[in-house]
Structure formats: C-alpha cells, structure tokens
C-alpha cells in the first residue's frame, strides 16, 4: 500500500478467523484481500487506488454504471467467499479508509460490531421472491365461476364489467393473503426474517430469511411446499442464496 492507495473495507469478521478463508479471492481492482485485526474483530480489506476512490473521483465513478457494477460484484464476491466458512458482518458499500491505523481506530470505536457478529454466528441469509402471474389467476377465477352471458346484450356487458371489477379485487386480495401466508410459512423455519419492498408489480413477496446453517434444507422444502400449494394460482417462487447476511447486519427493525 502506498500514499496513492486507500483501504476499502468489505465487512468485519472475528479476529481469530483464518486468513485463508479469503486466500485467492480478488477484491476491488483484483487486489488481494487481507484482514486488518484489532481486539476481537478484524476488517476484511483490500487496497484500492485513491485515483478511483477519493471524494472527487468517487462522485464521477458512481455515475458510471459499468464501474458501479464491477465494484458491487467485487464487494459481494469477497463477502460470499466466507459463506459457510466464517461469520461475516457485511458493511454497506463505500467504507474507505486512509490506512490500517484508521481502520483499527474505527474498529476500536465500535465495540458493538463484535456483538453484531456473534448474533450472526452459524446463520445464513436466503432470499425468497413470490411472483404472481395475474392473468393466470384471473383465468382460473373466471373458470371456477363458470359465468357465461349472451354476447352483445347490454345486460351481458354490464355483467362482464362488474365481474372484471370483482376479479381485480379478488386478485388483489389473493396477493395479500398469499404473501402473508408465504412469509409466515418461511419465517417459521428462520431465526429472523424481513420483508423488503417489491421490485415489480408482480412481486407479491420479497423476503429475506436468516436460517441456521443446518436448516437450509427446511427452508428449501418450505419453498417447494408453497410452490405446490400456490402454483395453480399463478404464483412462482424463487430462492436465492446463501448470501452474506446483508439484511440482518444493520440495526434491528431496519429494512
């Protein structure tokens, strides 16, 4: 590390974490990842050029989608290397320090990091999304009613219009009920759970689940059960992970 470098910090581990957990993992700008230890905890860090990361350069680079994607991928790649090997406390993107002394000072001023790490010990984060195909559900609802009126008559038109409104309402009600039931079922096998904002109108559930490392099969089974239960209603589930526990690293009630 030279005066032209800064230290990018990805996350925090216990200071007794074997350094080989991150051996061979390429950090930002392909730099080697190292642990900067203090009392009890260590920062996962790598050198990055100030030319890219000082305040002015950063402001410019953040507007560059390709640059940002590369850095976000690197941030996750480093933390993901520890999944199932060591407990990591993920930091949010962009914690940058002028050298190891500054990193150690920061760690020393943050005794709560050790407790936050302990809380995540032996736990894995998974993401589950539930996606509703509203047309498939409408078709099923229409069929189950078996309503058919004479084409063309004014009365039939009014019936169809009323029916369409009722179906819209039923689809909305179903989405809410299904989301709640799904989350409840998944949260039952998790130590902690979060519901995040949907990323699209079809997404009825965007949940994050913190499960014990031995219980990820239980979560997988729960997702399969939900899939079987709600598939005919037009719902598909997507399981991602294990992730570093991003959703459970912050303060309680965040997210």
């Amino acid at each position: 590390m030279t005066a032209a470098d800064a230290l990018y910090v990805y996350g925090v581990v216990r200071s007794d974490t074997p350094a080989d957990v991150f051996a061979g993992v390429e950090g930002m700008d392909d730099g080697p990842v190292r642990l900067v230890g203090a009392d009890g905890v260590a920062a996962i860090a790598s050198s990055v050029p100030l030319a890219e990361f000082d305040t002015d350069a950063l402001e410019l680079n953040l507007k560059d989608g390709a640059w940002l994607e590369q850095k976000v991928q690197a941030h996750n790649r480093v933390l993901a290397a520890a999944v199932r090997k060591a407990t990591v406390l993920p930091l949010r993107f962009g914690a940058i320090y002028h050298g190891e002394d500054h990193v150690r000072t920061m760690l020393g001023e943050r005794p709560e990091l050790e407790a936050q790490l302990a809380r995540l010990d032996g736990l894995l984060e998974f993401g589950v999304k539930g996606l509703l195909d509203p047309e498939a559900l409408r078709t099923r609802l229409e069929e189950s009613r078996g309503v058919e009126a004479d084409e063309g008559s004014g009365r039939a038109y009014m019936l169809r219009k009323g029916l369409a409104r009722e179906l819209d309402e039923e689809v909305r009600a179903f989405a809410a009920t299904c989301a709640e039931a799904s989350h409840e079922r998944l949260a039952a096998v998790a130590v902690d759970a979060r519901v995040n904002r949907a990323q699209s109108p079809e997404m009825l559930l965007n949940g994050a689940y913190l499960v014990e490392a031995g219980c990820d099969d239980e979560l997988r089974r729960a997702v399969e059960e939900l899939d079987k239960q709600f598939r005919s209603d037009g719902v598909a589930y997507e399981l991602t992970g294990p992730w570093p526990p991003y959703n459970f690293a912050g303060e309680e009630s965040e997210g």
């Binding site: 910090v9 950063l58 991928q73 930091l91 949010r92 962009g94 996606l131 990323q199």
Partner: protein, 62 residues
C-alpha cells in the same frame, strides 16, 4: 408463467445484488464517505446500469 429471458433474469439478479450491497449492511463512516449527494449519485449510476429494468423508480424511494 413464462420464463423470463436470460438477459432479464441476469438483470433481476443484479437488482437483488445491488439492493443488498448498497442498501443493506452496516453503514460505517469511513475517511472517504459517500455523502448524501454521493448516495444520490449511486442512483444515477444505477439508472445507467439498469436502464431497461422498468421497476427502478422503486429503488430510489428507499
């Protein structure tokens, strides 16, 4: 439901990744920090990155 195209699927995965890395995790104040303005800039970058994902406006409301 019909399977999304691989390109769309890749973008959805990227949205999930970006959301975790930028919005979650412990926020520490480094020597060089993303100022409030900086965080807004991230969304400028994101918009370029995910220009074809129609749901992006939901991200910057977070």
């Amino acid at each position: 439901m019909s399977s999304p195209s691989p390109a769309l699927q890749q973008q959805v995965t990227l949205v999930e990744l970006v959301d975790r890395v930028l919005n979650k995790g412990v926020a520490l104040t480094g020597d060089i920090t993303l100022s409030v303005a900086g965080v807004d800039l991230v969304y400028v970058g994101l918009r370029v990155l995910l220009a074809s994902v129609s749901t992006l406006e939901q991200l910057d409301a977070e």
